[in-house]
Symmetry: C2
């Protein structure tokens, strides 16, 4: 892989990213001051090496997955973010009011709009959420709302209907007992402790304890500290020429709607500070897309931001955008602890 071969491959990849059309030898003549025949020879070698593919015997060349991989690792310039891209994102960070977690979501929405790809923010809620407080508020004679809050600031609430055999005071008393006994308990252990430790206690103190117990049991049971998922530009795939087939569109749309699938985007994300690129078969989510992702940290919580698009993705641009966001997050995170 000498210099010329490299830059021919680079040119082909970048042209294809722009145009989505197979690149022929003639298109490169001018750029390199070579005849099409010479370019063709080089192309044949690049195909031999596995970096290029043909759709059929007499079509232009298209980068293979290995070609994209080689491009990403050796040819792509770590270009700075462009001015207009930066401008849009700057507005977000300029707004000091915005909590960082909201800022990230907004940023990724903008990236989706700018690039016509789909973006994902996967806020990985740490497993070690502990119960901080449960409170009960009566809405009226036959409805109460139970609010559960963890030490990581996750709050869930649930409205319960109660009949008039139940005294609201008893429910509130129970919540006080729970607070005394279980604060600090990992949230996913609360149900168990409720059954084993709390139930025997309230049995003695609360008349309708079975019903009251069930209310809290339900409230905690519903409280799954799931990963927060924020998707933007879900419909941008409609604009990508590679998805001109309805069944293909449907396949992808279904994946976007399936949280279990989306979570695969952040699978094994142990890459502390690196932007990671998964091309086609390299990713778990779908063999026909490229995923570019970056881990982020705010307030001690971690998460992953990712952009999903066709393999013919504007790698350079996305990388520069994600780098910019990361940089801004670092700055804000360091400056005021937010």
């Amino acid at each position: 892989m000498d210099a010329r071969r490299n830059s021919i491959l680079k040119e082909i990849v970048e042209t294809f990213i722009k145009t989505a059309k197979p690149v022929g030898s003639k298109a490169l003549c001018d750029k390199f001051n070579l005849s099409s025949a010479t370019i063709r020879n080089e192309m044949a070698v690049l195909e031999e090496l596995g970096y290029l593919e043909k759709n059929h015997v007499s079509s232009g060349r298209v980068p293979s997955e290995a070609g994209y991989r080689y491009y990403v690792e050796h040819l792509m310039e770590a270009e700075k973010i462009t001015g207009s891209d930066m401008l849009k994102l700057q507005k977000i960070f300029a707004n000091g009011e915005l909590e960082l977690s909201d800022a990230i979501n907004k940023c990724m929405e903008i990236i989706s709009d700018l690039t016509n790809y789909t973006s994902v923010v996967l806020g990985k809620n740490s497993k070690d959420n502990n119960l901080l407080q449960v409170s009960v508020i009566a809405l009226n004679e036959n409805q109460v709302v139970a609010i559960v809050c963890t030490d990581k600031g996750n709050v869930e609430n649930k409205v319960f209907s109660i009949d008039n055999t139940i005294d609201v005071k008893e429910i509130i008393k129970t919540s006080e007992i729970i607070n005394k006994m279980l604060v600090g308990t990992p949230i996913d252990e609360v149900s168990l402790r409720l059954e084993e430790d709390v139930k025997p206690v309230i049995k003695r103190q609360i008349k309708q304890y079975e019903t009251v117990y069930n209310i809290f049991y339900d409230a905690f049971n519903d409280f799954v500290v799931g990963n927060s998922i924020h998707i933007a530009g879900r419909n941008n795939i409609f604009n990508q020429p590679e998805y001109n087939d309805i069944s293909e569109l449907k396949r992808l749309a279904n994946k976007f709607d399936d949280e279990a699938y989306i979570e695969k985007v952040a699978e094994n994300d142990n890459d502390e500070n690196e932007i990671k690129i998964f091309i086609g078969d390299e990713n778990e989510f779908d063999p026909n897309v490229t995923i570019i992702r970056k881990k982020y940290h705010i307030n001690g919580e971690e998460g992953t931001i990712a952009v999903i698009g066709p393999k013919r993705m504007d790698y350079q641009r996305i990388v520069s955008l994600l780098e910019y966001i990361d940089e801004k997050l670092d700055k804000r995170g360091g400056k005021d602890g937010k």
Copy 2:
């Protein structure tokens, strides 16, 4: 419109609903023991009346919007829900644990699965939510969570980062002041009262009152009692033969993602107990779909359930499904006040 003409129209509509293919005269001969010529004469009349259309001069007939309308009003039989449909829904209501609002969502998901249409549950949160309680919980030295609860059981929470010049006690004190002064205030007036009534008070009592004030201002400002929206089967449109065009699919998919649009589904829903059908141009949402909707009430809150599909929709089935759900809701709602 004599009896025969009616039943021919009915047959055409129902056949087209099943097959999505234009209906020719021959297809009806057997059913009516008439020659195709006679059927053709009748079809010509029905077309004259505006109930049928042709795609081109020699194609079979397709119901017009007026045709569907006529079918819905005069021809469709108020058939009972089929056994297998009922079975699926019964499971939901058999589960007494489920709060009704969750049950509705589940039901509509099932309807989407059964029918390949898209369904929407629009929980219209009544405008008269009043502040019931605001509480502040400290997560650690520099994070607090503010929780706002209304008398209708709507709860919102927001995490704030604070620097160490702020004393958490002051925030909590402020929340107590707010509770004393503003409980019962309509939630959308709280911001104003906060500014006019509360600010002057805390100015005297709280040191960093500007910053503290802003926290609460933000928390309430974020609290828009929006309508809750639950969509199921968003991707089912991919399965409908009428949407075989990507740009059409994109148009609809974008609408499903736009909450403002979805809310149009329930616009002017004053039809207390009636199932309402909007065919094509009759609805605001999109001229190429039919929307069937029903208002529901649970716990004094109202909302709308709706099914969105092609104009060639299985009207009978959807109506019977919605009726069944409504009936079940009534029963449960009446029995135990849920």
